[in-house]
């Protein structure tokens, strides 16, 4: 491994998990891409992720200059505005060896960056580098670290909604299943029409509110059909949409990110 670029002693001390190498102890920089939604609205999701990964000696570092991946502007056609936001992500993770995020959709957005910055040589270079080192949480845990059993116990009836961008575009399909299948006491019930979009779609939910409303209502119907007590997923935007509809209807089903469920399952187990 080459020595990482521009890394000072401070960064070394603050954020890095050391591991032994032939040539002594080398440093790797594994960064948290928190996503604006998880940062502002759902801090427990990123916290669960950070604490869970730390159990494997992976110490996430958090570059504070990151904001939003720019997807709301990108998908609405405002690419200039998207670029302004996306640059904070490209700058934040320029020196990272790995970037881990609790959202398949925001992770996939990074794969649009080469297109978004095709006329900007400086940021195009950063964009191309970033896409190959970015991972959604379960991708990183299962595919990179090789962990499927985190030792969680969670005696509940759970159903899983595969978010579209994570599963279809990023290809994260088996990873959450492998993790859920190893949780002790957990009964996983299949969600009917699981692959159908929940109707979020960013500004779509505002612009086409009634179509989006019909979609999320049907998604909630399917969740309720399973009689699960907990709905899990890998994207807080979709989960916020479904949970919002369930609450609107007065339903009590809990809605969680898989990182939250796993970390709760681990903590309860250890403290009981």
């Amino acid at each position: 491994m080459e020595s990482p670029r521009g890394r000072g002693v401070l960064a070394r001390d603050r954020s890095i998990g050391p591991y032994p190498d032939d040539s002594g102890v080398k440093i790797m920089k594994i960064s948290l891409f928190v996503t604006c939604l998880s940062d502002a609205l759902f801090p427990r999701v990123a916290e669960s992720m950070a604490r869970l990964l730390a159990r494997y000696g992976v110490h996430l570092e958090f570059p504070e200059i990151q904001t939003c991946c720019g997807q709301p502007a990108y998908n609405s056609g405002y690419w200039e505005d998207a670029r302004i936001s996306a640059r904070t992500i490209l700058d934040a993770f320029e020196d990272s060896d790995f970037v881990v995020s609790p959202s398949g959709s925001c992770t996939y957005m990074i794969h649009h960056y080469p297109d978004l910055f095709k006329d900007d040589p400086l940021y195009l270079k950063k964009a191309k580098a970033l896409q190959f080192k970015s991972y959604e949480f379960t991708q990183f845990l299962v595919d990179v670290l090789g962990v499927t059993d985190v030792g969680a116990v969670y005696p509940q009836k759970v159903t899983y909604h595969p978010s579209c961008h994570g599963s279809r575009l990023l290809g994260v399909k088996d990873e959450p299943m492998k993790l859920l299948n190893q949780v002790k006491g957990l009964e996983l019930v299949p969600l009917p029409f699981a692959e159908d979009c929940c109707g979020f779609g960013g500004t779509f939910a505002v612009k086409m509110a009634d179509i989006s409303g019909a979609m999320v209502t049907e998604k909630s119907d399917h969740v309720l059909e399973t009689e699960a007590t907990v709905l899990v997923g890998l994207d807080m935007a979709c989960l916020m949409n479904i949970a919002g509809n369930l609450r609107h209807r007065g339903e009590k089903v809990q809605v969680k990110h898989l990182a939250e469920l796993l970390y709760e399952g681990v903590s309860v187990h250890e403290h009981s």
Binding site: S38, P43, I84, T88, G146, L169, M215, H248
Partner: protein, 506 residues
């Protein structure tokens, strides 16, 4: 589709009618589910589906990249077979050519098999205007014609009607009450159409694939009506979009595998006809005269456009409609054009030079990518929808309020400190609307959202507020990295480095 609905001029308005029509939504859900499941089983049974999708894509990419060559080859071969080949740049030209042929033949009636391109031309109305009766002979198209509507699905034109509504329409035509029994209704239509086939002067078809090497046309159908249309009348007119070409019969094997499985879940279509020219001396039947009208109508606008050329790869199977969660709720008429669903949302604006009139249909998508996943030739429709939205903004046709919102977005998100202070400001501001940790108010942008949902409130501390303390705590309690995990990380890092130069998308 009632009058108010057909006059509605925005996707939102038209979708509103559909969302309030329980019959329509149930009928569309019922059939798209059946087709979707059929496709799923047929593609799984095939065993190498993704490999064949890629084959299909490559054939289409190659053909479209060399479309001038293959169109010439096709036209030469078809002429050598004795067919008259015409090129029409616009819908108007194609209509004029069709009417000329009908007038020249002193035709009184035309029987038609299913053709989406004839829907693009609104040909039935044009024929009617010169006193020629046009009769649709595909069952679904026949129903739609009786109802004086347009198809709401590429392959199932009457998908939005249930059998009770169909029985009503057919009873009116029969002059007696027909029960909503599929066999009885189909029996009535068969009898009725048999007369029409025998008296028709012209048979008119679309074209699923045109084979360049032999100048042949291939039709896929399940009812046998296209075979009647192409063998009984003395004159045949085939309408084809200029992109329907494939180079050879060997390529058809791939297409004949992909199309029926994607469309209906059938391994093979019930009737597949290959037609190479008019009746020859030893043939028992077939038309004496054959015309092929090759139609551009906006297609060539896509050639050389890197974002939209792949649109011409479409084989009109309708799989993207069946997979689309938006189509599922609003049906086809809400899209406003000849083509509906995800392909229609892109194709209609593209064929119409992206004029402002069609700006809004690109918004009727959550960009979930189900269309791309379903597409047998892997057209990235979800990316094309974003391209359409971007072109609208670049052309200065964006909504002013939205543009201001996006300027605000980038002003906040362009700088982490500003972003952080806005989140803090939000925590202060939200206390006017938060009740029990939830926001239910329906004002401003929250109006539509909160009509179906409640919004969570911002927590006391954001993640970045908590991180310094959290990080110290994590460091105190975290574990050691096992050598196995360390090795996996190292290996992955090497892989990442070797991929750096790649130009991957996904």
């Amino acid at each position: 589709m009632n009058t108010a609905e057909s006059k509605a001029h925005s996707v939102k308005e038209r979708a509103g009618y559909a969302l309030n029509n329980e019959f329509l939504r149930n009928a569309v859900k019922f059939t798209t589910e059946r087709l979707r499941l059929g496709k799923k089983l047929a593609s799984e049974e095939h065993g190498n589906w993704d490999e064949w999708r890629e084959r299909g894509r490559q054939i289409r990419l190659h053909t479209i990249a060399h479309l001038d060559y293959y169109l010439n080859e096709f036209a030469e071969q078809a002429r050598a077979n004795g067919a008259h080949v015409h090129f029409a740049e616009t819908a108007e030209e194609a209509v004029a050519l069709s009417l000329q042929i009908a007038e020249h033949k002193s035709a009184k009636s035309v029987v038609k098999s299913k053709s989406m391109v004839s829907e693009e031309l609104h040909l039935n109305k044009a024929l009617d205007s010169i006193g020629v009766e046009a009769v649709e002979t595909d069952l679904g198209e026949y129903i739609i014609q009786l109802a004086d509507e347009t198809p709401s699905h590429i392959i199932i034109p009457a998908i939005h009607k249930n059998r009770y509504q169909i029985a009503e329409l057919l009873s009116e035509e029969a002059g007696e009450t027909l029960p909503p029994d599929t066999a009885i209704m189909a029996g009535f239509v068969r009898m009725k159409l048999r007369e029409k086939f025998l008296e028709a002067d012209i048979g008119m078809t679309g074209c699923n694939f045109a084979i360049a090497e032999t100048g042949s046309m291939v039709l896929f159908e399940n009812e046998g009506n296209a075979r009647m249309v192409t063998t009984v009348p003395k004159t045949q007119i085939t309408l084809m979009g200029m992109e329907r070409i494939i180079p050879s019969w060997a390529d058809l094997e791939v297409m004949a595998t992909l199309l029926p499985r994607s469309a209906t879940g059938q391994k093979l279509t019930v009737y597949m006809s290959g037609i190479s020219g008019p009746k020859r001396e030893l043939d028992a039947d077939g038309p004496d005269e054959m015309h092929i009208i090759i139609i551009d109508n906006g297609r060539s606008l896509q050639l050389g456009d890197p974002e939209f050329q792949e649109l011409l790869n479409c084989i009109r199977c309708g799989a993207c409609l069946n997979a689309c969660p938006v189509y599922r709720h609003i049906g086809g008429h809400a899209y406003g054009g000849t083509y509906s669903g995800p392909i229609g949302a892109v194709l209609t604006p593209a064929l119409n030079k992206n004029v402002a009139e069609w700006d809004d249909i690109a918004n009727a998508s959550s960009l979930c990518g189900a269309c791309y996943e379903a597409c047998p030739v892997k057209i990235p429709l979800h990316d094309m929808l974003v391209s359409l939205r971007r072109r609208k903004i670049e052309a200065g046709r964006g909504d002013k309020l939205e543009a201001m919102g996006m300027k605000g977005f980038s002003a906040i998100m362009g700088n982490a400190k500003r972003y952080r202070s806005v989140v803090s400001l939000g925590k202060w501001g939200q206390k006017f609307v938060v009740r029990n940790g939830e926001i239910r108010t329906r004002i401003g942008p929250l109006k539509g959202w909160n009509s179906y949902r409640v919004t969570p409130s911002l927590p006391k501390q954001s993640f970045r507020d908590r991180w310094p303390e959290m990080e110290r705590d994590i460091r105190r309690t975290s574990g050691q990295m096992e050598p196995e995990i360390a090795n996996r990380l190292k290996e992955r890092l090497q892989q990442q480095k070797s991929r750096k130069g790649e130009d991957s998308h996904g």
